[in-house]
Symmetry: C2
Subunit: 337 residues, 2 copies
């Protein structure tokens, strides 16, 4: 463990549905290089490996230090012993593919494969929080909601590698439909598709009000969402954050709902894990200004007050915690950190 610093490199690969991010960091935690390639899961895992190999070679060429370990985060249920995806709603073509074995034979280094949000939690713990707190719950807020947990300074993966799946905890029994097929999961309210669904309901409601009162044009003229995004099928969390910023009523109500349910999911995780920090990362976390108020209102007003008062809920400032975490975890698992 007491290595000379910056001698060895870990490469981290965060495989998203659209983009795959790469990072090379040293045993001292210094980021040496980062890059991005398209994932294109539809073309199959072999083509993906080819593109990945080219990207990793480019990364290695820019460093001139030996790569000693690689880590890969995959969105879905990961069997880390076999080093493959057991199941994944968003990356069906990659399920069952032996990533660990194939990567190890291509690159001749040990490869660690974990759930992407689990590795983002480790990235948050190492790169954002500098390993200072003992117990951390990390949420990755994007299309879906991933989660990971650090317990007593160690990454906790659970008995089948699935620990920290806060996105699929139930926050509203018999509530909205979730991507997983269940109802009332946190993701169904605070994953970006759930947020967009809530917004469309508020927009339709406003439309109905306007039609009913004959004031359609007046209300329409104040409709900020529709001016930002005339094609509602393209509505996303970024537009809704912008609309909230410009004072749009439906957008603000929408973020209120997302924040309320994030508050319930996080309050429950706080009761169970009693962490020092809850860290939020991922694209949707950038809209924190609009959901943090209602979120904290739920967490802070829990009567069993000590864990709720102890915990700090923070939005991560460091980008790419997924790939950084994958690289850091690969080094950690080989005891090169």
């Amino acid at each position: 463990m007491a290595m000379e610093n910056n001698r060895f490199i870990g490469v981290g690969i965060d495989v998203g549905g659209t983009y795959t991010k790469l990072a090379a960091i040293s045993d001292a935690g210094i980021v040496f290089a980062q890059s991005t390639v398209e994932t294109l899961p539809g073309l199959g895992p072999m083509k993906f490996l080819d593109r990945l190999e080219a990207a990793v070679r480019l990364l290695k060429d820019s460093i001139s230090r030996p790569v000693r370990a690689m880590g890969m985060g995959l969105a879905g249920d990961v069997d880390s012993r076999k080093g493959m995806l057991r199941c994944s709603p968003n990356m069906e073509p990659f399920t069952g593919f032996p990533f660990k074995r194939r990567l190890e034979s291509r690159f001749q280094v040990p490869v660690s494969i974990e759930n992407d949000a689990t590795l983002a939690a480790w990235g948050g713990y190492v790169a954002e929080l500098k390993r200072r707190p003992r117990n951390v719950v990390c949420l990755t807020l994007g299309t879906g909601i991933g989660g990971g947990v650090v317990v007593e300074g160690a990454l906790y993966r659970g008995s089948t590698g699935t620990a920290g799946e806060i996105g699929h905890t139930i926050v509203e029994p018999d509530g909205e439909e979730c991507s997983c097929g269940a109802r009332g999961c946190l993701e169904a309210y605070a994953g970006s598709y759930g947020i967009v669904r809530t917004a469309k309901k508020f927009l339709a409601h406003r439309e109905g009000l306007a039609a009913g009162s004959g004031r359609r044009r007046v209300v329409g003229s104040r409709n900020i969402v529709w001016r930002l995004c005339p094609d509602l099928s393209r509505l996303d969390a970024r537009v809704l954050a912008l609309a909230a910023q410009r004072g749009d009523w439906a957008a603000r109500k929408t973020w209120g709902v997302a924040g309320y349910y994030l508050g319930i999911g996080i309050a429950n995780a706080v009761m169970l894990f009693n962490p020092d920090v809850v860290l939020l990362t991922g694209g949707v976390s950038r809209a924190g200004r609009w959901f943090m108020g209602p979120l904290l209102r739920v967490v802070r007003t829990r009567p069993m007050g000590i864990p709720a008062r102890h915990v700090r809920v923070r939005i991560a400032k460091t980008p790419n915690l997924g790939s950084l975490g994958a690289a850091a975890w690969a080094l950690e698992e080989r005891k090169i950190s």
Copy 2:
């Protein structure tokens, strides 16, 4: 750690609102003696310590081996460093009293103080599960619902000693009132007071139906709950289990509701901790026959299936896991086990 077996004794004390249970176990995990005293918290902590001292002396006299450590479980939020209750709805007179310091000076052995359900979880892990699984969530089902967690074979207490508080996770936003002052906690539906409240609603509803249809006498004659417990203010979980056994409709519906919400709370804990076993203990767990069906239906039908299929939900057979766990934990903390 490699001690000769059965040479040293740990004494465990599980302080409940009504009774305090004691257990003496050896470093090899053999139970040497158990006893019970009344808690009578209203008389204050000093009187309680006097009664406790007498009980411990009786226990020691029957063993003739040296007591090397004592553990105490208290219902409420425990500061284990200071060795006292920070707050407790049921044992107000004991809050702030320096149990650790007073017990150590009376008995001249090191004393470990933790939340009672946390120690019951350790008892379940050691005495019921024989330390076989790696990750365990334990629920103590009684008037309230306590919880404790074992992570990678070690008792996990969280950052303020409050981890595992599953009874105060939200299972129904804006739901029934909980003893903690919040709404919709698991305890409000599956703690015995919540179960009794649900039963009274079903009974009142039936009464209403009977009155409305003019069939009061007929329905009344089938009213098993009222025959078992003519004074409804004394209705408890034991009566409701007996009534369910005899085919009472309201009692069975009541257990169905409790099981459904236990299912939601446990499914959420399974998503977050991904444990091997969820262990149920405490008086209400004896009614498992009536709530396990609906409980497992919620857990097993979660679409994110791998953690839900992996976990076994079991009812503990060993009684007094609270005092056994307190004794075992005291030895564990001193490395005498």
